[in-house]
Amino acid sequence: MMDLWSLEPVALPAELDVLRRDVRAFLAKELSSGRIAANCDQWLGGWDHAFSLRLGERGWIGMAFPAQYGGSAAGALARFVVTEELLAAGAPVAAHWIADRQSGPGLLKFGTEEQKRAFLPRIARGECFFAAGMSEPDTGSDLASVRTRGRQVNGGWRLTGTKVWVSGAHRAHAMIALARTEPRTANRHAGLTQFIIELPDPDVHIRPIRLLTGEHHFNEVVLDEVFVPNARVLGEPGSGWHQVTSELAMERSGPERILSTFPLLAVAADHLAENGERSSASRVGAVVGRLWALRQLSLAVAGRLEAGAAPAVEAAAVKDLGTRFESVVIDTVRLLSQVVPDLGSNRPLPRMLAESILHSPGFTLRGGTNEILRGVVAKELGVR
């Protein structure tokens, strides 16, 4: 339990203020020119290739990569600042999201020199997008139970199986897939391997899994004896589980676990500033105060990442608290604005409210359900 209590707050270094101002100025222009529009949950729903290219030009994708791979080795805190500014503005960041958050860092950590040269600079330019093939029809949050199999063949591997909930697979340039490459033993976590599958591929069949709104972000990806050359194995064969779980701290503690509904809150706050009554102010204040604290917590975890640690338990706590908060924002705005949510409205409040409500089930499911996350925390407490 001590590890949890040794987390420390982070005061962002003053030099990041310059970076933040640059991002803000850029975003203000993007929004005012109408090139992008503010929306909620844009790291899932906002796919905009051209916007990603513009970010790439400015060096705001793959920031953590060393210079020889197209990055600036800027560190976790700089990435935090850029990311939170993008999310708070409701900018469309879905296209490069997985590549920037997971695949890129994974390649950097476990990839071969050739793989890094092949992918990282393109990722950083906003030219190459990744998908992550983890879940399967029967796995849910239990990743160790994957059934996709990798069979060694001449010069590489043949993968067969079905991945689900693969966001952006229909538009990505590559997918990193987790597959079982050794028979299952008592150690369920052994014998898994990560593969880089370049897309499109004639043996990879991608079908939409539409959200309840009809939106197409997720896919079912059927791998039908897909050939993956040895050069596209990521890291050590058999170490897939370790590699995947090492990403979790990064995946679970970022500002995207807090800010999915921030654009809605910002619109409500503007409303309030313009014509709010005292009691509404207090209710918005309650949400704002909690958000302030959650941001500090997320930032503190970024500080640990920056220091090279893998604060998986703290990250689980951030995600549990943060994703529940994202729905609290919805309820607060909904009740005090007394606006009927309406996807078809041309006013931002009813429209963002509708989008947020309809996306809300995903908040506490994606990246590990909150029940699973609390299990992770409970284990740290010594009671599991």
């Binding site: 209590w5 987390l7 313009e274 918005v284 204040g285 706590a317 608290l321």
Partner: protein, 352 residues
């Protein structure tokens, strides 16, 4: 945390563990004054933490004081360190005066307090309600219309009162001529204001709460591992595990908010949002943690003989002291309004 502060905190933890018998049914844990601990803390040199050395303080920053308060909160320690160091000491040093020794407390004058300048000093009459630890304080610093009046024990009549945890919250009936040597004006560069006073009081309370909550969680974890029901430790029930994890999340969030707010107070001009958020989140946390801790402990935790109550009654008491959740969310809401259109994100990040 710097190594110096870490060492200080470890020493305070040791002294607290020695002087505060967690299992004690009454005595120090019951709201009473823990003279031995106070002496130990004075020896360690933390009772004037964050008060500048040139004014008789121990130096250090608010972050260090908050770290110490978290430990004292864990141990339900009966000492007015928050009042002495972060409030009275701050007020007096902020006036450029030298802080006296011994335990102190502080209060903001109520509007009814009447003062009049007389030949022998300032005549002060009126009441101040629910002053923490007043009966044990050698001095009470009263912030009245921008100046700081330092009262001695003979300047007021005291009616004892307590909070839900039995800690002293005394009403003072003041009727005194206070000599000029104990009436101070803030220095030109001081940040002294009623708002700043309330903020520091709230932050101190939130730090104590983070500590008390951590203890309540630790007691619940330990109990869940020992107590058996339906043939196995209740820690094996997923419902209990989920409760404990929810508690840990709340405690972690509060702790981080408190420490980040202290950092903001130490480094920035405007820490209002930080302090308000820290007390707000602590208040939200207190209800969740206290109720889940009791739920996990079952009936036994609800008794006088179980130490859990030391932590939970403090959580209940403290969430309503120095402004409850509604009060601070009101303050934050007003900040949102005054920030104007498009200002929310700047307010949250502190960067414009």
């Amino acid at each position: 945390m710097s190594e110096i502060i870490a060492a200080l905190v470890a020493t305070v933890r040791e002294a607290s563990a020695k002087q505060c018998d967690i299992g004690a049914v009454t005595a120090c844990a019951d709201g009473g004054w823990n003279a031995e601990l106070w002496t130990a803390l004075e020896q360690i040199g933390v009772t004037m933490l964050s008060v500048p050395e040139e004014h008789g303080g121990a130096g250090g920053d608010v972050a260090a004081a908050v770290a110490v308060l978290e430990v004292l909160g864990e141990y339900s320690a009966g000492v007015p360190l928050a009042e002495t160091a972060l409030l009275a000491g701050w007020l007096i040093a902020g006036c450029g005066a030298t802080v006296p020794s011994g335990p102190m407390t502080a209060a903001v004058a109520s509007p009814e307090l009447r003062t009049r300048q007389e030949d022998t000093g300032l005549s002060v009459r009126g009441t101040v309600a629910r002053v923490p630890w007043a009966r044990y304080a050698h001095h009470v610093a009263v912030l009245d219309n921008g100046r700081v009046i330092l009262l001695g024990r003979s300047d007021f009549l005291l009616e004892q009162g307590t909070n839900l945890a039995g800690e002293p919250r005394d009403d003072l009936a003041i009727n005194a001529i206070v000599p000029a040597s104990r009436v101070h004006e803030p220095s030109a560069d001081s940040a002294i204001s009623v708002q700043a006073f309330y903020g520091r009081a709230a932050l101190a309370r939130a730090a104590l709460m983070a500590g008390a909550a951590r203890r309540a969680l630790e007691l619940a974890v330990a109990y869940a591992g020992e107590r058996e029901q339906f043939g196995r430790p209740i820690a094996k029930f997923q419902a209990v595990q989920q409760h404990l994890a929810a508690m840990a999340g709340e405690v972690l969030l509060s702790k981080m908010a408190v420490e980040a707010a202290a950092l903001a107070l130490d480094t920035q001009g405007d820490a209002d949002v930080a302090v308000a958020a820290a007390k707000l989140v602590a208040g939200q946390m207190a209800g969740v943690v206290a109720s889940l801790a009791h739920q996990i402990h079952g009936a036994i935790g609800f008794t006088e003989e179980h130490p859990l109550r030391h932590s939970t009654t403090r959580l209940w008491a403290w969430r309503d002291e120095s402004g409850n959740e509604d009060e601070w969310s009101g303050v934050l809401g007003q900040r949102v309004v005054s920030e104007g259109t498009g200002g929310l994100w700047s307010l949250l990040t502190g960067a414009r």
